[in-house]
């Protein structure tokens, strides 16, 4: 029973991490920790500026 609960917890954690990665929330968290900033409209604007070039150059498939 414990094992099943552990597996479910792992699965949900991975799913949440995947969503956070796909939606760039994890990238924003890394940016905040790297830049030593707290979340605010200024820091988010700075993050978008930094990530815009890389993110928008990513091709997307047909």
């Amino acid at each position: 029973m414990n094992r099943a609960r552990e597996l479910l917890r792992d699965f949900l954690a991975t799913a949440a991490a995947t969503l956070r990665e796909i939606f760039d929330e994890a990238a924003y968290a890394r940016f905040l920790s790297r830049a030593g900033m707290v979340s605010s409209s200024e820091s988010y604007a700075e993050f978008r500026r930094e990530f815009e070039q890389a993110k928008m150059r990513r091709p997307k498939c047909c």
């Binding site: 990665e21 939606f23 990238a27 604007a45 997307k60």
Partner: protein, 682 residues
């Protein structure tokens, strides 16, 4: 004991899979259940992953779990980052899954369900998945280099140049085709147009919310956006039922084409946080949710496929697009079987996130398998419809006639009974004025999807709501391809122009932004306009062009892969990439020949130009334009063929040189560095 059990399990799976494939292949004359396709696909993917990908991984690539990947060696917290393999898998799948695997199989269903299903299964297992897997691994071993850079360093300058030109060509044609699909889905559809129009203010609201109210809370705001989009779908019903509002949101195809071009330009030139990024998040949310829901719906409903295994149109006289089953079925279905575009993603962000080489198999091979499964769902969605209904929706007016009674009589005459009353009832059920001549694949897919959803979730009363949900779903993420693609192409053009005049390469210099955005929008806008104005239904000629250019890129990717395999002294296994390469060359060359020189004016560009030019004089300006378009399409196809030939010749020179001992077989990999993750992870 365990080995014996595993052997018996896999043997049983192989028998079940072979049985399902045989049932699909030999059954004639009576409808089959969609579950046969689901079982066949599941078994093929499981066996392909367990045995074929393992063989490629062990015998050819020799994946090394002790070798540090660029994510570890070059970690910078931005592009290069050691990431959990399931997270990378999700990231990679979200990038490769676009509208291609939905639309291509729907169009190719005019041949019956059999050709598309077989090509999607065999193409993915032996070609598409292999391409994505090997390119991903080769990029990982070269510090995450792009396909263009690998082509340049492993094949030569010509390979690099052709890869660059091919990427631009594909992007432009893809964007034109994608825009045309949206136009065909939304024309004379006030409900759909209203819903899509509403996604713009919703995206703007999300942009402001993300920037000002809850910075960085993307999942939260995407969920909010999703709820608002559902409200817009619901509201669209009332718009379509109100005469004044319906008139306001009913546009002709040319007007929609102009509006989409304006949108593409705005998305490319406006700040990304305001419109493009929120729409991207919203569409990803809708995309992943809907694909999962469709899979569940198909298994829950397990509908009957009414389309025959093979239709009479394998002879090339099909109304959806003209051309024989070979090569056109294999050109029309690209993304679900093999897509050169995936090689760009496998050599883009994904290789920079992989923690260990051994994970490339699951990410590269596995994610493409999932994409292929989406194509199987699209085949099912197209084939659950009565064939008469399928052909009434997908056939252009130039083939079946404008009047409902004429179209129904023509299609019934082909042996696929349908009546004008049936079509009227269906249009009424989905809240449309008409479903005739809604070419492009998107409306047909929406009807199939609505059928599956309404029968498994909510009943017939929700048919209209599900139909418009499907239209919104397709248009939303096709538009996302359109805006992101325009922007990517703009960056690429700016990179190239920067070599000519430095300021043009600056992505923050507004004259350059506006000029290059206009250039890109004008390029794909030309193909869009051509499609809107072409009396034979532009998708007929544009989709094969897209397929040819996409598979040209796959040819470049497979040439790079084969060259590297030979340089790795694994020439005896080169057939793994050489086989798909030979098949693609045969398909691409044959299709190109037909598109240029086939005497049938519905197939050959030059033949159509000749027929039109021989018409009564003086020729109208519209006819002169169509003649010019056809000649230009023939020229574009010819240029693509020349490029394929150049890459092949250049690659073959490398292979022959190495195998004859005249050239040194030296791969250009990053040096081996032992990983520290093994000790850390235990």
């Amino acid at each position: 004991m365990n080995k014996t059990l595993a052997f018996l399990g896999w043997a049983m799976l192989a028998v079940v899979g072979a049985g399902a494939v045989a049932a699909i292949a030999v059954r004639r004359g009576e409808p089959i259940n969609a579950l046969w396709l689901v079982v066949a696909a599941t078994c093929c993917y499981a066996l392909g992953y367990r045995f074929y990908s393992k063989f490629v991984a062990a015998k050819i690539l020799a994946l090394d779990g002790l070798r540090a990947t660029p994510a570890e060696r070059l970690e910078n917290g931005r592009d290069f980052l050691v990431t959990n393999k399931w997270v990378v898998f999700g990231h990679h799948f979200a990038a490769i899954a676009g509208p291609g695997p939905l639309v291509g199989p729907v169009l190719a269903a005019q041949f019956g369900y059999l050709p598309g299903t077989m090509w999607v299964l065999a193409g993915a297992v032996f070609a598409g998945c292999v391409q994505d897997f090997v390119i991903l691994l080769f990029s990982v071993r070269r510090d995450g280099k792009s396909l263009t850079e690998m082509a340049k360093s492993e094949i030569g300058r010509v390979g690099g140049f052709v890869a660059y030109v091919a990427v631009i060509a594909i992007l432009i044609i893809l964007l034109g085709v994608a825009a045309l699909i949206v136009v065909n889905a939304l024309k004379a559809s006030p409900w759909g147009t209203f819903t899509i129009a509403m996604t713009m203010p919703i995206a703007l609201l999300m942009g402001v919310y993300l920037r000002r109210i809850r910075p960085g809370k993307v999942l939260e705001v995407s969920a909010l956006g999703f709820v608002l989009v559902l409200a817009a779908i619901w509201g669209g019903q009332h718009v379509s039922q109100n005469e004044a509002l319906a008139r306001l949101f009913t546009f002709s195809a040319p007007t929609l084409a102009i509006l989409i071009m304006i949108y593409g330009f705005a998305a490319s030139a406006l700040p990304v946080w305001l419109l493009l990024a929120p729409r991207d998040y919203l569409s990803t949310f809708v995309k992943l949710g809907t694909i999962a829901l469709l899979g569940i719906g198909i298994v829950a409903l397990h509908p009957t496929l009414h389309m025959p295994a093979l239709t009479r149109f394998v002879d090339g006289t099909g109304p959806v697009f003209a051309g024989k089953i070979f090569p056109f079925a294999f050109i029309t279905i690209a993304c679900g079987a093999i897509s050169g575009f995936h090689a760009l993603i496998s050599s883009g962000t994904t290789p920079k996130m992989i923690a260990r080489e051994t994970e490339t198999r699951m990410v590269g091979y596995g994610a493409m398998m999932c994409e292929s499964a989406v194509a199987i769902m699209a085949i099912i969605a197209a084939c659950v419809m009565q064939p008469g209904v399928y052909f009434a929706i997908n056939s252009p007016a130039g083939i079946v006639g404008q009047a409902p009674a004429t179209a129904a009589a023509t299609i019934s005459g082909w042996g696929f009974p349908v009546t004008a009353a049936d079509m009227q009832a269906l249009a009424h059920a989905v809240g449309e004025q008409t479903l005739y001549n809604r070419t492009g694949g998107a409306p047909a897919f929406a009807v199939g999807m609505a059928h599956i959803f309404s029968h498994s979730l909510g009943g017939e009363t929700l048919m209209a709501l599900w139909y418009h949900f499907a239209i919104m779903f397709e248009a939303l993420f096709i538009l996302t391809i359109l805006d992101a693609g325009t922007r990517v192409a703009r960056f690429m053009i700016q990179d190239a122009l920067g070599h000519v005049y430095k300021p043009l390469g600056r992505t923050s210099w507004y004259p350059s932004i506006l000029g290059t955005s206009a250039l890109i929008v004008a390029s794909w806008g030309y193909f869009l306009w051509q499609g809107v104005k072409d009396p034979l239904g532009g998708i007929n000629s544009l989709w094969p062009l897209f397929g040819i250019s996409n598979q040209l890129l796959a040819t470049v990717a497979l040439c790079v892969a084969t060259t590297i395999i030979i340089k790795m002294h694994r020439a005896r296994y080169a057939a793994v990439t050489l086989g798909p390469l030979a098949w693609l060359v045969a398909v691409t060359f044959t299709a190109s020949w037909h598109k240029m020189f086939d005497p049938n004016p519905r197939v050959g560009f030059l033949a159509q130009a000749r027929v039109l030019a021989a018409g009564p004089t003086p020729l109208s300006s519209a006819t002169v334009r169509v003649i010019f378009n056809n000649r230009l399409d023939a020229a574009v196809t010819g240029v693509l063929v020349v490029m394929v030939t150049l890459v092949l010749v250049e690659s073959a020179r490398q292979w022959i040189g190495i195998l004859s001992g005249a050239r040194e077989a030296r791969v250009k990999e990053a040096p081996f560095v032992r990983t520290r993750l093994v000790e850390e992870r235990g």
